[in-house]
């Protein structure tokens, strides 16, 4: 079942078209990376899903229920972590979670139990001071705790790691990764390594349209180009192999750097086996032969340029 369905979503701010017919479906219990440049429309999409912004066209369904702008009914299925979560600085973490729990309609006993459990999960158990004295990382972790309080079916995180130091970032990624299988996580970011490390599905948004979507493996398969990296024992061997007649043809690109040679092939007749045969015929034994997989970064750069 799809937890989130977005169909033909259009949105403009004055003359600036932010979303141009966005379509997206997110299956239950996946960790979904929503990738795009700054200004690509990620936050706008999330705010429309939360009923905080009104789309000019299209619809959004959360757990099968249509989202209505200004109303909060569908938000009972959602936990939301903004990029910079803001809290009432005069409150302590337990008090803030109690306020959230009361709004969600949980019983006092359940609020107490869930709050303790979640503060422990995010490493804030035993922190009994006012939120105004919290660091950014602590606020982000408290933000995750409040977002998970109502055991949401959909957890939306808007660039949760963009302003954190490496340790804070790792902590947040570990917490989100631990949610896999328990809830659906939609995780917007422009830090591609974060997406690669925890997401099982990815969508790339560019100028308000989805330009790439699927699992990382699917995307890599779709955009695979035959690229190989061969490292020789010496620069001379690399130079000699690069001059091979069979490689001097259309569809084959060679790039030599010292004793390393990168071969990109669009001609399917030249595969790994053909290259190994060529090496064998020339009695060359490379130190390393590697089939290069496209990285998310290279794919992202390719589709947004």
């Amino acid at each position: 079942m799809n937890v989130l369905e977005i169909a033909d979503l259009h949105m403009s701010f004055r003359n600036n078209k932010v979303l141009r017919g966005l379509n997206m479906e997110i299956p239950e219990n996946s960790v979904f990376g929503f990738v795009g440049r700054n200004g690509a429309g990620k936050t706008t999409t999330m705010k429309i899903v939360l009923g905080l912004l009104k789309a000019q066209c299209g619809f959004v369904k959360v757990c099968g229920e249509e989202v209505r702008y200004g109303a909060t009914r569908t938000n009972r299925h959602i936990g939301y972590l903004p990029d910079v979560p803001e809290f009432y600085g005069y409150m302590k973490p337990m008090e803030y979670l109690r306020l959230c729990g009361e709004i969600t309609g949980l019983s006092s006993a359940l609020i107490k139990d869930r709050s303790r459990e979640l503060l422990e999960l995010v490493g804030l158990d035993g922190v009994n001071r006012k939120i105004s004295g919290f660091s950014r990382g602590m606020k982000q972790r408290l933000g995750i705790a409040q977002a998970l309080l109502n055991e949401p079916r959909l957890l939306i995180c808007d660039e949760p790691t963009s302003a954190l130091d490496p340790i804070g970032r790792r902590q947040i990624l570990d917490i989100l990764s631990a949610m896999r299988g328990k809830t659906t996580v939609v995780f917007s970011t422009h830090i591609l390594s974060d997406v690669e490390s925890i997401c099982d599905r990815i969508a790339v948004l560019e100028q308000g349209e989805l330009v790439l979507s699927g699992t990382l493996a699917e995307i890599q398969k779709q955009h695979r180009r035959n690229s190989y990296h061969i490292r020789f024992a010496s620069d001379g061997e690399a130079e000699e192999f690069s001059q091979t007649e069979e490689l001097k043809r259309e569809g084959v690109e060679l790039e030599r750097e010292g004793c390393s040679l990168t071969i990109s092939v669009s001609d399917v007749s030249v595969g790994a086996q053909e290259l190994i045969d060529l090496l064998s015929r020339k009695s060359m034994a490379p130190e390393r032969f590697e089939v290069l997989e496209p990285t998310l970064e290279s794919l992202f750069t390719e589709v947004v340029q």
Partner: protein
Amino acid sequence: MSHFLVFVKKELVEYVRTYKLLILLVVFIIFGIMNPLVAKLTPELLTSFMPEGMFVTIPEPTALDSWAQFFKNTQQMGLIVLLLVFSGVLGTELTKGTLINLLTKGLSRQAVVLAKYTAMVLVWTLSVVVSAMLTWIYTVYLFPDGPMGYLFVAIFCMWLFGVFLLALLLASATMVRGNYGGLLLTGLALVILMVVNIFPEAHTYNPLSLGAKNMSLVSGTVDPSSLYAAMVVSTLAICGLLFLSVLVFQKKEL
């Protein structure tokens, strides 16, 4: 607990912990104590500042002077302090983004508006009651000169005017962004009411009249019935402003 009650509780806790309640209570307690004292000491102070050889006959102060001080202080400085303290009632939350978490938890926007208004009215009511009680106690002690005319009606009218101003402030805050935008719009609305008051026919209905006849009511020279129309108009205006606030806030993009 309903969203409304949860949010009223949150607002009251906020007023206590951010010292807003303390500031207002201190100001209104000072007024309450000072009103009768100033009335009592004014003739003596004036006499002491007179040049030597000059004699002026100053009438003996009465309880009326004490209540005149009460209405003057509360309606001028009191209301200004009240509006300043609550100037960021919605703007601060919208600018900082503290409401986002709660709205995405299902908190209704209507509950936010109505709870904020209720909490402000509660604080205003407490401030007026404390100040009036202190003024009354000291007035009875210093000027035991008999009963007042329509004192409670006069205090009620002043309270109602404050309640109207708070509704105006909240409605303004939903319409403009920033902490002081709402305050400016409220000021503008008051200026319009003052301009309208130039026409004598408007006096009967203008909410400003609620604060203009306090001492006439206390001295018994004006009948409360002359203010009924202004009371009804103010109450309707309060309901209208609250309805407008909810409507505007429901449609506000956050």
